[in-house]
């Protein structure tokens, strides 16, 4: 192979390094107007009265749009439970309510941003505050105030798994571990705050140029809210400054389209531009879900886990976003990559007045893994067994049944991945089984108050959409030339969110067509000229696009040989179908592909200040086939660093609907001096039988095991289990003090 497996230079490197690349905020169009959004600013209220006349009367204000101006005032990736604009005047029931502080109430379009900002202050809104739901457990209780009264309950999704008989199995178990895990929200903190332009293009389409993750889904949601046929809406992504799941739901898309469309109807054809500040970004888009996971697991003295019972409660925040899908993952992953004969899971998505929970790298996997790996590590400890040893006794193997009663797709490598990670990290195997490295291998700290420890965790994560969600990816390849192929154009919608998708697309097209990569020209991320690719999420794009590109290349080559000029191949790849969880038993075929990962972490804990410092992280990740090894390494290191922030530092503070961490000076993410001293990426390549050139997805996997591995390492260092994080110095120090007092 000449292109797949090579660390080709990124196709977007030059533009991004020189600053030539335009992100949505950088783009300006002639005669553009500026938009500002009025946010609710309070967590729960109904809007009694809204008067925008004073704002509209201001000189320089082109228009103010409110709920009454939205043709179909609702949207949502999974279910349309969110008003585009909250307030009176639309047909949507209860759309007059705001349910989190970032709910959008009105948009002002003006000659300048400053005028738009002043006009916001002239909009009179009379709120009647409603009780604020801040806790998912309270919110799911009988009699709680309802966020969406039309739904009758704050529980908006529920799954259950019933496999075997946990009660009976617990009775046989030699050891039991019971814990309650609480996981915190996390902010995506991408470099580029939301921004974009809305305008009517040459062909009369309502067009939005933004940064998102799925052009065609944005297009559909815009069309739905505007009551327009899909063809009359166009979505274009220019460069995207990071996403991590945070751009999977709408932010500025619909309001930009609405403003451009309504102005056009009034005979004003002017592009409309918006740029969110960092504060608006942090308040305005969703967060990683908070979870409470109660787990009770039992094992035999030989170390075989015989039963697992879990209650999984997800704080969905004010609207559904992708919560139900995220919950599906947690439902599956809260019992880890293990074969457990008896499993009982009850999982709930619950509305509260928090900023909505939504997609974020790992998509429910990290929370599930934190609970599962915590349980596994505690069981090992109780049994006096090594953490690797117990995992290898329980990991899923080819043909073994998941908690949902079906086997994993072929190509199960978790056992080999755990072994490889352990060996690289100094574990030794002898006749008596696996043994973790001696303490001295961790090196000795410089001071007495510093303690070191090591921990391990592993995980599995689906590639692609799960549980019966429609899944496909379409590629178009055009071959131009006469005798020889002069140029191959690949038309593809894939969002390049910084992960390197476009580079990998070009590599795979070059490979499939056996052409030099310089002959591939990409036409990307524009609904007008590409077909639906699905989102850049779920670690799916390389896998899905690769298969689509192979098909398109084959078809284009056939036509080329049949002398068609240009030879155009279109191919829609559909993976093996998946099925939803059975409502009673959870039985399902959840996914068509997985990636497997294991990590060890060594830490140093300062027992006087509570600081946890990450020393070495060793990540073994089975990526099936590293299409571009350098990009794979970048994803591993990036995921580890992002997870390090989640585990140790990122402390999103939201109380009574007030967010104290609306900026990057109060919400801290790791700096270059906070990240682990060393991250070793061990790239394993056990091919996925249905992956393109054997590739599996890998963008999320290395994120999952880090936090539970850190928790295990801290336990090893100072003897305390943390079932809640982030492990801020204050939290760690408080626990250390508590453990000292008898």
């Amino acid at each position: 192979m000449t292109h797949v497996g090579k660390s080709e230079k990124r196709v977007d490197a030059l533009g991004k390094v020189t600053g030539e690349t335009q992100f949505p905020g950088d783009i300006n169009m002639p005669n553009q107007a500026y938009m500002k959004i009025l946010f609710a600013g309070r967590p729960h209220a109904s809007i009694r009265r809204l008067d925008s006349s004073a704002a509209e009367a201001m000189s320089g204000v082109l228009a103010v749009f409110t709920a009454k101006d939205v043709p179909v005032n609702e949207y949502g990736l999974i279910m349309p439970d969110q008003p585009v604009l909250c307030g009176p005047g639309s047909a949507k029931q209860y759309a007059d309510r705001v349910r989190f502080i970032g709910d959008q109430v009105a948009v002002v379009v003006a000659e300048s941003e400053a005028i738009a900002a002043q006009a916001l202050e002239r909009i009179e809104v009379e709120f009647e505050d409603l009780p604020v739901a801040q806790d998912a457990l309270e919110s799911m209780a009988e009699g709680a105030v309802l966020l969406h009264p039309d739904r009758g309950s704050n529980i908006f999704c529920q799954y259950r798994i019933r496999k075997g008989d946990v009660e009976e199995a617990f009775a046989q178990a030699d050891v039991m571990v019971e814990s309650e895990y609480r996981t915190p929200p996390q902010e995506h903190a991408y470099l580029q705050p939301e921004a974009g332009l809305g305008y009517i293009d040459d062909e009369g389409r309502v067009t939005v140029n933004v940064a998102g993750q799925w052009t065609h889904e944005d297009q559909e949601q815009i069309a739905h809210a505007l009551g327009l046929p899909v063809e009359q809406v166009r979505v274009v992504y220019s460069a995207i400054g990071g996403a991590f799941g945070g751009r999977e739901d709408m932010s500025v898309q619909i309001v930009l389209a609405l403003a451009a469309w309504r102005l056009h109807q009034r005979g004003i054809d002017r592009p409309v531009k918006v740029i969110w500040s960092r504060e608006e970004s942090i308040l305005g888009h969703h967060k990683r879900h908070r979870y409470v996971i109660r787990s009770k697991w039992g094992a035999t003295k030989e170390g075989k886990v015989v039963a697992a019972e879990c209650e999984v409660i997800q704080d969905g925040g004010a609207y559904a976003y992708t919560s139900t899908k995220v919950l599906g993952n947690s439902t599956l992953m809260c019992t880890g990559p293990y074969e457990i004969p008896n499993v009982k899971v009850d999982a709930y998505s619950v509305y509260t007045n928090h900023i909505p929970g939504g997609a974020f790298r790992g998509f429910g996997g990290p929370q599930g893994a934190f609970a599962a790996e915590g349980q596994m590590n505690k069981l090992a400890e109780k049994l006096g067994m090594d953490a690797v040893e117990i995992r290898l006794k329980n990991v899923l193997t080819e043909g073994a049944l998941l908690s949902v009663g079906t086997p994993l797709p072929e190509g199960v490598s978790i056992g080999k991945v755990v072994e490889e990670c352990a060996v690289r990290s100094g574990w030794k195997r002898s006749g008596r089984g696996w043994k973790k490295p001696a303490r001295k291998r961790l090196g000795s700290p410089e001071e007495d108050h510093l303690r070191r420890g090591i921990g391990i965790a592993c995980a599995f994560k689906n590639v692609g959409f799960s549980f019966g969600a429609p899944e496909q990816n379409t590629a178009i390849i055009e071959l131009h030339g006469k005798e020889r192929i002069e140029e191959a154009v690949l038309r593809h919608a894939a969002a390049e969110v910084g992960q390197g998708a476009h580079t990998v697309l070009a590599q795979m097209a070059a490979e499939a067509l056996d052409l030099p990569i310089t002959k591939i020209r990409l036409v990307v991320s524009d609904t007008a000229v590409t077909h639906d690719s699905g989102s850049s999420s779920a670690s799916r794009m390389t896998f899905m696009a690769g298969n689509a590109i192979r098909g398109a290349a084959e078809s284009a080559m056939e036509k080329w040989h049949a002398e068609e000029r240009p030879a155009v191949g279109i191919y829609q790849y559909r993976p093996p179908p998946t099925t939803p969880l059975d409502p009673k038993t959870g039985k399902s075929e959840p996914n068509f592909s997985y990636g497997y990962v294991a990590e060890t972490v060594s830490v140093e804990v300062d027992t006087e200040t509570g600081h946890v410092r990450l020393l070495d992280v060793i990540c073994a990740d089975d990526v099936g086939r590293a299409v571009n090894p350098q990009l794979v390494q970048g994803q591993i290191e990036g995921a580890v660093v992002q997870a390090a922030g989640y585990a140790l530092m990122e402390d999103f503070q939201e109380q009574g609907g007030e967010v104290r961490t609306v900026r990057l000076s109060t919400y801290l993410i790791p700096t270059v001096r906070d990240i682990p001293e060393r991250v070793e990426s061990v790239i394993l390549e056990y091919p996925d039988p249905i992956g393109p050139w054997g590739a599996r997805g890998m963008g999320e996997m290395p994120y999952l095991p880090l936090t539970p591995a850190v928790a295990a390492a801290v336990r090893d260092a100072v003897g305390i289990w943390f079932d809640t994080f982030p492990l801020t110095p204050e939290r760690v120090l408080n626990a250390l003090k508590e453990s000292e007092t008898p």
Partner: protein
């Protein structure tokens, strides 16, 4: 020059060339604000803390950006010397490494290329990282106003959160560091939530030197940031260190005294309780570091 930036109010920018010009501008009645690196000014303007009609850039006034030796090993630091220059200046590194360390602890390299020591002190944040160093080095803040020069000792300069002892029309022009005592050793320990860029949860500066006239044979000066309404000296700890034989016990007692002196608050960065505990830990660590180095030299 009118400047309209999203998020920033409109203002005029004037680059002052002489002190007289500054005095004129400050007197003319329009709300104005002095500007050096702008790393506090612009953030506060964006937050709506104030919206001056005029920003008077004073960093190009004569002498504002130079560092000069004064007689007998003291230094005169122009108020507008940026923190990277300060931290890397050979005389500072040689004679006042504590000051270099404090300057280096502010934010990130990029920010330090604009941020100035004068701005840091005038902004008078309780968390100002160069303030504890200025306190223990017993710096003199030199101000110029229409009535001429005024020399303000650092310990009189900080009057409240965001408030300093400058009078209307006065500007800070330099910071004079008096000649150091003989054989001084200094440390500034800063604790932030991250390793780079965060404001201090606690900052502790310690300067120690041998002095036969004290009972312990040594004198120590200690100052704290971020744990009181202003940066503060800790005389109780200093007294302990001068009157008792220095060793682990005395150091611990002094660290406890520092904890007692501190009056921290809860905020988004840390609770008051954690800050208190950290004052003690970091005071002890800074004292140990200084004491160890003094012992080595003796």
């Amino acid at each position: 020059m009118k400047s309209v930036r999203p998020g920033l109010p409109e203002f005029d920018y004037i680059r002052a060339e002489t002190i007289e010009q500054v005095s004129e501008l400050l007197k003319n009645g329009k709300p104005s604000r002095l500007l050096m690196g702008g790393t506090d000014v612009f953030v506060q303007m964006r937050d709506g803390a104030f919206s001056p009609a005029i920003l008077v850039d004073v960093k190009h006034l004569p002498g504002m950006q130079s560092i000069q030796k004064t007689g007998n090993k003291g230094l005169r630091i122009g108020a507008a010397v940026d923190l990277n220059t300060l931290a890397g200046h050979p005389e500072v590194v040689k004679s006042f490494p504590l000051l270099a360390e404090a300057a280096q602890s502010v934010a990130s390299y990029q920010l330090r290329s604009r941020a100035t020591m004068g701005g840091n002190l005038c902004n008078a944040s309780p968390a100002a990282d160069t303030a504890p160093a200025a306190l223990v080095l017993e710096a003199i803040l030199v101000a110029q106003g229409s009535n001429g020069e005024r020399r303000i000792p650092a310990h009189d300069f900080f009057t409240g959160p965001g408030q300093n002892a400058l009078q209307d029309g006065e500007i800070l022009t330099s910071i004079e560091i008096p000649p150091p005592p003989k054989g001084p050793v200094g440390r500034y320990l800063k604790l932030g939530r991250n390793a780079e860029g965060d404001l201090a949860i606690v900052g502790v500066a310690v300067l120690g030197y041998a002095d036969k006239t004290s009972e312990s044979g040594f004198r120590f000066r200690m100052a704290l940031s971020s744990v009181a309404p202003t940066p503060i000296r800790v005389p109780t700890a200093e007294d302990i260190l001068e009157s008792r034989t220095i060793g682990d016990e005395t150091i611990s007692a002094a660290a406890q005294a520092a904890r007692k002196t501190a009056k921290p608050i809860d905020d988004v960065r840390a609770s008051a309780g954690y800050r208190s505990a950290m004052v003690e830990v970091h005071a002890r660590r800074a004292l140990h570091a200084v004491w160890t180095a003094l012992g080595r030299e003796a």
